[in-house]
Amino acid sequence: MIRYILRRIVYAIPIAFGVSVVCFSLVYIAPGDPLQTVMPPDATAETIAIVKHAYGFDRPLPMQFLIWLGRVVTGDFGVSIATRRPVFLEVSEALANTALLAMFAVPLAFFTGYVMGAVAGSFAGRWIDRVVTGAAVVGVSLPNYWLGIVLVIVFAVEYMVLPATGMGPSGSTAFNLAQWSNVQFLVLPVITLAMIPIGILARTTRAAVAEVRNQDFVQTLRAKGLSEWAVTRHVLKNAMPQVMAVMGLQFGYLLGGSILVETVFTWPGSGFLLSKAIINRDVPVLQGTILVLSLVFVTTNLVVDLLQSLIDPRIRRA
């Protein structure tokens, strides 16, 4: 088992490297000149060349990459072109804000989606399965920015019970989880964010549970005299690796922050930061954000792999 863990970690290193190459070059593949937005339109060619040199944009790409990577490894992501603040600060603040949403959206989505899917899968073909499956389809198909706007109209505009946008009452500096005046700002974005993962997870869990229930060993369990509940425990454990794979993806998605949802609620998270960086062509911020988010994905995948192999010993052999 220890050897398996080490092997998986070693495998993750080239993936992380590949990811960094991709996000470094993605920015150059996209059209548009990063300096365009910060330079006054009447800047002379000379000035442009000086700025370019200062940012290192005049070197060959592989060199730029290596220099960038060398600094990134030491935690130096450069300085934002738009705000002149260190990218590291920008990204970590945004990530912390998104993590705040994820902290609530992940348990909400995982618990609700899993329970719905497990119930539907255990009663596959019955009315409760149809109800859950129908609800899951609705959850997946609702565009979440639209849902967010509807929730804002209903709860913030019509009934005025919850705030529409932002992270706290004006003037508050730190987010205090113990205070409703802060926490109320979480409610609508968390619900909006959780909706699609709930639908996806419910469907995956339903499919996995229903499939496992049809396997031969379930009949053996019944023949042993186990109760339906005990049989269900076996079924759920067998379905877990498949469910966890999807949970990992959704975890990454929620931690990555949704550009649309964070924009609707003006939540200063990583999605919001990303969209700002795209609009401003803020290359260092873009690179830093994408890299950090990708590494979050790679790490999540690694953890999911290890958890899966803990549950299903057959995975360890592969």
Binding site: T220, A223, K224, L226, N238, R314
Partner: protein
């Protein structure tokens, strides 16, 4: 008192598209310590009959009629709780595919222990000790180590031994074995068969053993029931059935095995194929393939006839003997146990 008694068992699977008439009036008796072999082609309803003895069929799509009693208890009528005590306790089952019949994500020791705890209420430690004893009883080499193995880490033969250990863990009185050796290599088949028979004798269990294989039946059975299209077409002591079959279907089966084809293949020497279980012919189901077919075979399902005391054949071409002997469908057959050739 018979250990298990099945009377007039009918099983139908009803779905929106079709109704499958899987079992159509099956009856037999198993006495304590007796081995009944159910023989028949694929799809003849052997597994369904066996599952009905534990009411293991999917409740929603299945219609069961008739009576099934085990040690005087009415299996088809008992409440779910009592049924769960019966399953794995009084009656245990071994399945055909040891590969897929065990839960892949639990160790062998956990799976056996779970059954023991369920039926005896003992603790984890005691269950583990008992599981170890059982693995030793089924002759699994280095049993202590294998207790913590997962099913995929064992060979097919070992897995089937684990299945047997699990089935025997709560000392059942009746063991149901659904083609327990079919999925194994030929040499392993023989070992598992010898093991099963030894344990069955030592523990004095009754056993119902389903197989395609007449050779296996000859080695293990006291009595034999031959199934065709959901009915028992012939039954009686093993020596009688295998040496002097009365039903043309059994005779065909025997003729096709004599030619020494591989054991796990279906018997295909009889011309034609088994009937569609959704649309059974009106009369004798075997009539379309039968060399002795007569006019009445097409219209009337043949009544049981008894050419010899205790030997039943449901065929219009078989003559009745005196009606007084019809009572005993499955007699005890002292001395006629076929013996497995020495290892």
């Amino acid at each position: 008192m018979p250990l298990a008694e099945v009377r007039d068992l009918y099983v139908r699977f009803v779905t929106r598209e079709a109704t499958v008439y899987a079992v159509n009036g099956v009856g037999f008796t198993v006495r304590p310590g007796e081995v009944l072999c159910i023989l028949g082609e694929s799809g003849s309803g052997k597994s369904v009959t066996l599952r009905a003895l534990m009411r293991l069929l999917p409740a929603r799509r299945t219609q069961i009629r008739g009576s099934v009693t085990v040690e005087g208890q009415n299996v088809l009528g008992m409440p779910r709780r009592a049924l769960r005590d019966l399953r794995g306790g009084l009656v245990a089952m071994i399945f055909q595919e040891p590969m897929t019949a065990l839960d892949p994500v639990y160790t062998v020791g956990q799976q056996i222990g779970e059954t023991i705890r369920r039926h005896t209420g003992c603790g984890r430690e005691a269950a583990r000790r008992r599981a170890l004893e059982l693995l030793e009883m089924v002759r699994i080499p280095s049993a202590a180590r294998r207790l913590d193995a997962y099913p995929h880490e064992l060979s097919g033969g070992l897995r089937q031994r684990v299945m047997i250990a699990m089935a025997l863990s709560c000392s059942p009185r009746l063991l149901l074995a659904d083609e327990p050796t079919t999925a194994l290599d030929a040499t392993v088949q023989v070992q598992v068969l010898i093991l099963l028979r030894r344990l069955q004798r030592e523990l004095g269990m009754g056993m119902i053993f389903v197989t395609h294989d007449l050779g296996v039946a000859a080695e293990i059975a006291d009595t034999v029931a031959v199934m065709y299209a959901g009915r028992i077409v012939e039954s009686g002591p093993v020596g009688q059935i295998l040496n002097a079959p009365a039903h043309p279907y059994t005779a065909g089966l025997l003729a096709s095995t004599v030619h020494g084809q591989s054991r796990d293949r279906d018997i295909d020497a009889i011309a034609g194929s088994p009937p569609d279980m959704r649309r059974l012919p009106q009369g004798c189901s075997f009539a379309p393939r039968c060399p002795l077919r007569m006019a009445e075979c097409r219209f009337a399902v043949p009544e049981p006839r008894f050419p010899v005391r205790g030997h039943m054949a449901a065929c219009h071409a078989v003559a009745h003997s005196s009606p007084a002997t019809q009572a005993a469908v499955t007699p005890t057959v002292a001395g006629s146990r076929a013996t497995i050739s020495a290892r």
